[in-house]
Amino acid sequence: MSFLAPWLLYATVLASAPIIIHLLNRRRFLRVDWAPMKYLKLTLKANRRRLRIEQWILLAVRTLAVAALIFAVARPVSSTTDLAGFLRLQGRASRVIVIDDSLSMTHSSGGVSAFGRALQAAEQVLRALGPQDSLTVCTTSRPRSPFVRHAQLDSPDQVVAQVLALTPSDVASHWASTFAAADEHLQSSVFPIREVIVVTDLWSSGWGPDMVDLADRWATDGVTLRIVDVGLDPSENRRILSFAQADPVALVDTEVRFLAEIRNDGREAMLSEQALVSVNDVVQSVTLPDIPPGETVEAPLTLTFDEPGQHQLRLQLPQDSVPGDNERFLTVDVRRQVEVTLVDGDPGVKPFDSETDFLALALTAGNSQWKAQQVISSDWIGQPLEAPDVLVLANVDQIPPERAAELEALVQAGMGVLIFAGDEVDSQAWNEALHRDGRGLLPARIEQVREAESTGLIVEPLADSPLAALQRIAPEALARIRPRRVLEVALPADLPEHVRVLARWNDSKQTPALLEKRLGLGRVLFWTVTADRAWSDWPIEPSFVLSTRLAAQAVAARVSRWENLICGQPLRFPLDAQTLPQSVSIDRAGSPEPLEAVIDRAAAEGPEFLLPSTRLAGAYEATWDEPGLGARSRQFAVSPDARDSEPERVRESDLPRYLGQLIPKMLRFTGESLSLASEGTELWRSLAFAMIGLLLFESLFATWIGRVR
């Protein structure tokens, strides 16, 4: 047995209070000169044994009541000196031991991490188990890949060695899936008595009510859950919640802005602390803004890159009690130019006959950092879809549903899309493929083309409108934009949150001119007018150049679907089906052994290589040989999942919310004596009941023996 407040045990001297009071009471007496001493002595002699027993019982009860009170406030937890007894089950059992190796387990105090204690506890549990039971051991980062499966331990040394060789991961725990995996192991076990032993720090991240159903089933099926609590209360932690590129496109020799969200969970403010930023292993120091305790601050960072290509960034905070969440990795794709693909739905032979000629001129004239590529729509639909920074669909008649789905995925990943109306547009096909009752790319349902009576363009006064700069030019310039025809759209009375009207035509209906829809990380801007002079003379106006550039800059973004990951996510990258490699090797910086990726030829989005789960944060590089094209490589950044170090612990009283009817048997492991110190189940309630019982007994017994006899 151990105590959570052992210093209170010094108060056990108070248990002698009843004895002292008894002795003091013996000093308060009458003195009587007595004649019939003979009969007094005879009476006492006959009753001495009874009186003495009664006195001793009363003294013992009072002393025990005081001792029970002191023990209760010292918060004892039940003894586990007999660990084998604690783990004993009636018969042979199938056991699954789950060792929490999530990021929060790196929390250390006094030089020993929670993970270190977890390994010690796991070792002791393993050594206390008998050879008759079936044993499966896994970690929370890989619950479905146990390193011991249904084994019977004749000698635990080998398993113990495997356990002691474990290292913590940077993955956040998710107990619902972990318990589900443990349940699968139990289902395939042989013995009817089943038990799950979880060695964890009980930090709150990952615990949720989504496991109640499974826990209730375990309770019904008689599955025993033991939780070995090796955690300590969180203290003095700082963590990087996110680190991302703020500018949508990173260009060579251009300042690129980054933003890091840093949270101070400590009790003291972070004042002008230094963080380390490394770009391709070149380290430089940056000063962080002041961060008060308990607050999150966005720290801006500006970097300039000399070379195009992928660059690995690493942001690192000073060490604290949870080292796992002090760094963040980012892969930046730096390019020389912003790539714009102009999909032309109405190509022409002469200059400026094509639908996208004016657009190409407007985007690239005097702007060497923008590179426009014009593609005829029929060709574009037949080619594999690439991900430019901006995709412009000008008067495209229709988009096949498959291509529409690919577009949606790219926009979700950050790509920007500009859409211009035109006579070729098949409204029905567009609505079916790209509106899909509001779930597609189109901000609004397309109705029909009608004659316009507009007398100019009105820019909506929105704070973050990409056309805000248009409001600063002369109103006459906007008044000269008078389309002859416009494409009408149907807008619901209450616009969805992610749809906005950025500009309207100045007519009686206030017809929308430019609509915006945000989808995932990307944006779609939809002009209800053509990009050539078919419906208006606006393309020859200077305001067309400004408007087009503003819109393109607003939506341009480098799609980064694969490169930046959080630990636990699968690492994957699409491969060309024509040049599939034999194998893909993945190296993690600082790790000696390469990882073998799986080539998934039947993936839904085409062939890809796949590393099912990333356990550790860091800079990863995948290399492979494409037949005929030679060696290729791709860099990835995997960051730790800082959600796991949310500074809050699950209390025993909270467990019913997550485990329903399943009542776990708790075992507390402090690690101070490198032995299992306590069961984790506090006994103060039992002691309180015992004390109340003793007091009741004392009252009744004292009344009984105090009666005249």
Binding site: L30, R31, L44, G706, V708
Partner: protein, 318 residues
């Protein structure tokens, strides 16, 4: 004559008087039966004439009827010689001044003496604990009452008790049959006392035992822890009286009951007096009862007690 001479008590018992239940041998004519034949008007019996007998006692009528000579005898009436033995040991000192057991014993003795003296009986006094400390020879003079009261007032209770030795000494010294009244709490060696009482009975004395107890001694009413110190010794005992009060009361009752039973068996009058009771009432009841029931019947003589010692109530003895 004010401390133990209580007119209220004497007034209640004087009209009842005291009659010896058995023949006594006095020196003068009195109102009590004598074992001798004398000149009273009360016919006793006949005996055969022997030469030398005074012819005036010859019953001629009996001669006429039976032609034999019979001498007619008459009972003699004598006065009573009473010895009052008052226990003056330290144990009699228990109680507040004026209500000590000794005070009650002395008052009872003076009151009885007053009644007896009024009947022209002779009254003597012995105050004793383990030995006789004060002694007054029996006398029928009215001044005896004053002497008696003075003697009792002079005595301060103290010392140990061995009432048996005292009574035995007196039994050996009293020449004629008489009355012996013992006023004591009887916290003494009862075997010795019983043996001494047997001697008194053997000598033909009538014995009255006034057993005087304080109510504390009978009921043990203390509600605090008490150190009991032996009033006649140095022994001390710590006790919480409430935890064995009933057992103690049973022990005292058993003690009194045993003494009473032995006294009844041997024809000794036993009267228990509590110090806070009305002494006049208690004595008058006793004397009235004695007047009505006649002489005590004794079925045996007092002797040392049976092997069974006084037992004490409690859980072991129920």
């Amino acid at each position: 004559m004010s401390r133990y001479f209580q007119p209220a008590v004497i007034g209640r018992i004087a009209r009842i008087g005291f009659r010896a239940g058995q023949p006594v041998e006095g020196s003068i004519t009195g109102q009590h039966r004598s074992p001798l034949h004398g000149l009273s008007a009360e016919f006793a019996d006949f005996r055969t004439y022997t030469p030398g007998d005074d012819l005036k006692h010859l019953d001629w009528r009996a001669y006429a009827r039976s032609d034999r000579y019979y001498i007619k005898r008459f009972e003699e009436e004598s006065n009573l010689r009473c010895w009052l033995i008052v226990d003056d040991s330290a144990s009699m000192n228990y109680g507040p001044e004026g209500e000590r057991k000794y005070d009650i014993a002395a008052t009872a003795a003076v009151s009885l003496a007053a009644v007896l003296l009024k009947q022209r009986d002779a009254v003597g006094l012995a105050t004793a604990g383990s030995k006789i400390r004060e002694e007054l020879r029996p006398s029928g003079a009215q001044s005896q009452l004053i002497k008696l009261e003075e003697t009792l007032t002079r005595v301060t209770p103290g010392g140990e008790t061995d009432l048996g030795a005292v009574v035995r000494e007196l039994a050996d010294r009293i020449p004629r049959r008489g009355l012996v009244v013992i006023c004591s709490d009887l916290f003494t060696d009862l075997d010795h006392l019983y043996e001494a009482l047997g001697r008194l009975q053997y000598g033909g004395h009538a014995v009255v035992l006034l057993h005087i107890l304080h109510r504390d001694e009978a009921e043990l009413p203390f509600n605090d822890s008490v150190i009991f110190r032996d009033i006649e010794g140095s022994e001390e005992l710590f006790a919480e009286p409430w935890s064995f009060r009933t057992a103690y009361q049973q022990a005292i009752e058993q003690f009194c009951g045993e003494v009473r039973e032995r006294c009844q068996y041997c024809g000794i009058d036993y009267v228990r007096l509590l110090t806070d009771e009305d002494l006049g009432l208690a004595l008058s009841r006793y004397l009235a009862d004695r007047q009505h029931r006649g002489p005590a019947k004794h079925r045996g003589r007092m002797g040392p007690t049976s092997p069974a010692s006084p037992t004490v109530g409690g859980e072991t003895h129920g």
